[in-house]
């Protein structure tokens, strides 16, 4: 940083030193300027890290005391009784997010591939991109209401299926755009080399571009997953909540964000502690696939 900056200024310096020998960036001022910019950058980074650190330590401090075997293995205790856990919400969240992934990942990745493909941009691509843009602009409550009228009203009950669908709607455009952006980072030359071998564009995308960018795409997917895993809003009209452990897709299902919401808004101190622990578990569940994607999948440096 420092050396780069100095070299840049030296050039300016020589150019600006006209006959007068006076320069905007002469000696001392140049050094001060350089230090100031470095300092500002460092400050920004430190602020960000500090905020992150404070949040994480706070959640850890508040959440860890509530973590015990029961917390992971038991459904909630009846109101007023101590103990109980969020077992039902952990499994519920896994099922709901899993359902959403089942729908949003194949469709989203396929749409992303389609958008990033080396073809002439046709009306269909424009339509897909426009739809993805509109969908990602739609507030998540709208997805909930939409599925409510479409599924819940017809099935006459809130259900995990409806919840998964609502989450899928929220997740789909994010997966699509993340995938497209990442695939676009793969150099054109690579696509062209493959096309020039007489390989059709969709095979090029699927077998050459996608594997090259697999890690980025996977991280993009986990980010989209993280977004929906922590969002209770689409679930209010769809999966709702459930006090009991259930894997029945046609019945309401609990989820971590809904339980955190319920416990945090409740009147009991024990509930508040459960909410904190729930938040901690939620963060863990979100971080796990992200770390896995980074560890398992290879990243490629593309030589030019």
């Amino acid at each position: 940083m420092d050396r780069l900056g100095a070299a840049g200024y030296r050039e300016t310096n020589e150019r600006d030193m006209g006959k007068s020998g006076i320069s905007l960036y002469s000696g001392r001022w140049r050094q001060i300027h350089c230090r100031m910019m470095t300092g500002l950058c460092a400050l920004a980074v430190l602020t960000l890290l500090a905020v992150l650190l404070i949040i994480m330590t706070y959640i850890l401090l508040q959440g860890i005391p509530g973590l015990n075997w029961q917390f992971f293995t038991r459904p909630p205790a009846p109101v007023g009784l101590p103990g109980g856990g969020v077992y039902h919400a952990i499994t519920g969240s896994l099922v709901l997010v899993g359902l959403a992934c089942l729908i949003a990942i194949p469709w989203g990745v396929a749409a992303g591939i389609f958008l990033a493909a080396p073809r002439r941009p046709g009306p269909l691509a424009a339509l897909v991109r426009f739809t993805a843009d509109v969908l990602s602009g739609v507030p998540s409550i709208t997805a909930g209401i939409f599925i409510y009228t479409l599924v819940v009203v017809r099935m006459h009950t809130f259900s995990a299926l409806a919840g998964g669908l609502a989450l899928a709607i929220v997740m789909l455009p994010v997966v699509t755009r993340n995938t497209e952006e990442i695939l676009r980072l793969v150099p054109r030359g690579l696509q062209e080399a493959a096309l020039a071998l007489g390989i059709s564009w969709w095979r090029v995308m699927l077998h050459i571009v996608l594997p090259t960018a697999a890690r980025g795409v996977a991280i993009g997917i986990t980010l989209a997953m993280a977004g929906v895993a922590g969002d209770p809003v689409p679930l209010f009209f769809t999966a709702l909540n459930n006090n009991h452990f259930s894997l029945d897709l046609t019945q309401p299902m609990a989820s971590l964000p809904m339980e955190i919401f319920r416990y945090a808004a409740g009147p009991f101190v024990t509930w508040h502690r459960l909410a904190w622990s729930g938040a901690l578990v939620l963060i863990g569940i979100i971080l796990l696939p992200m770390l896995l994607a980074r560890i398992i999948l290879p990243g490629y440096r593309i030589r030019r």
Partner: protein, 256 residues
């Protein structure tokens, strides 16, 4: 001798900008044709039109006809088929980073449905040998290609292009990133390949064009200025622009 490829009134655009302004040239089978000309005159664009790679860039347009064995590649043939018959080697070696050396060589076959292990292995060995790379990589066929030198990578790209058995090989400045010895090896390789392929070579290196090619085309500002047998072009150029370019004089030239 028969004409493998006949280019007729070929025009090409990037958006509104016309780069090729009507090029007509017949190209004989089993010859090496060098395409030379100042930077930006449209050499790359020209050869990219010969295997329909030009249309891959958004906003581009092509007009004219290119007859490959008497069939117009812009009419009634699928672009994928055209590219299978007209292979291409690029200026920068674009290896597929997620694949091993072996997989890189056979990618064009494998992804077009040829899956027989023995067959792929034979073809890979054969093509690597043709490209003069076999001895250097035979012990690390299944390693990633990232560990190869630029010259080796370029030969790998040639092997990869040969693996799909094209009839024509387009080469866009294949030696520009290589040292003289690696370049000479690729030139030798081209001479060997001439027996079974028709080669069109874009180069900025006049000596290379003179050494390796049978015919030379001088392109200037999107027009074909001169197209003759290579000795003819280098010894008795008809057009003063060609002469200036070859000898390194004149306004629109860039020596070597």
């Amino acid at each position: 001798m028969s004409y493998k490829l006949r280019v007729e009134a070929l025009q090409a655009w990037y958006g509104q900008h016309q780069v090729l302004k009507g090029i007509s040239m017949p190209i004989r089978a089993n010859t090496i044709t060098a395409v030379i000309g100042p930077s930006g005159c449209g050499k790359s664009t020209f050869i990219r039109c010969l295997n329909r790679m030009h249309e891959v860039v958004p906003g581009t347009r092509v007009a004219g006809r290119v007859w490959l064995d008497g069939r117009n590649i812009y009419n009634g043939i699928n672009a994928v088929e055209v590219r299978r018959r007209v292979g291409m080697v690029f200026q920068t070696p674009n290896i597929f980073p997620a694949m091993s050396i072996f997989q890189n060589v056979v990618a064009g076959l494998y992804l077009n449905g040829i899956r027989g292990r023995r067959q792929l292995q034979e073809r890979a060995e054969n093509c690597l040998q043709q490209a003069g790379l076999w001895e250097e990589v035979r012990d690390r066929l299944h390693d990633t290609a990232a560990g190869l030198s630029s010259g080796q990578l370029q030969r790998l790209c040639i092997a990869r292009a040969l693996a799909v058995e094209p009839e024509i090989l387009l080469m866009d400045e294949p030696c520009s990133a290589l040292d003289p010895i690696a370049s000479i090896r690729i030139e030798e390789l081209m001479r060997e390949l001439k027996a079974s392929y028709t080669i069109i070579l874009v180069t900025h290196n006049m000596q290379q064009a003179a050494r390796v090619s049978d015919y030379t085309a001088y392109l200037c500002d999107g027009e074909l200025v001169e197209y003759e047998s290579t000795p003819e072009v280098f010894i008795r150029p008809k057009d003063s622009r060609t002469e200036n370019y070859i000898t390194g004089r004149g306004a629109d030239t860039r020596p070597l």
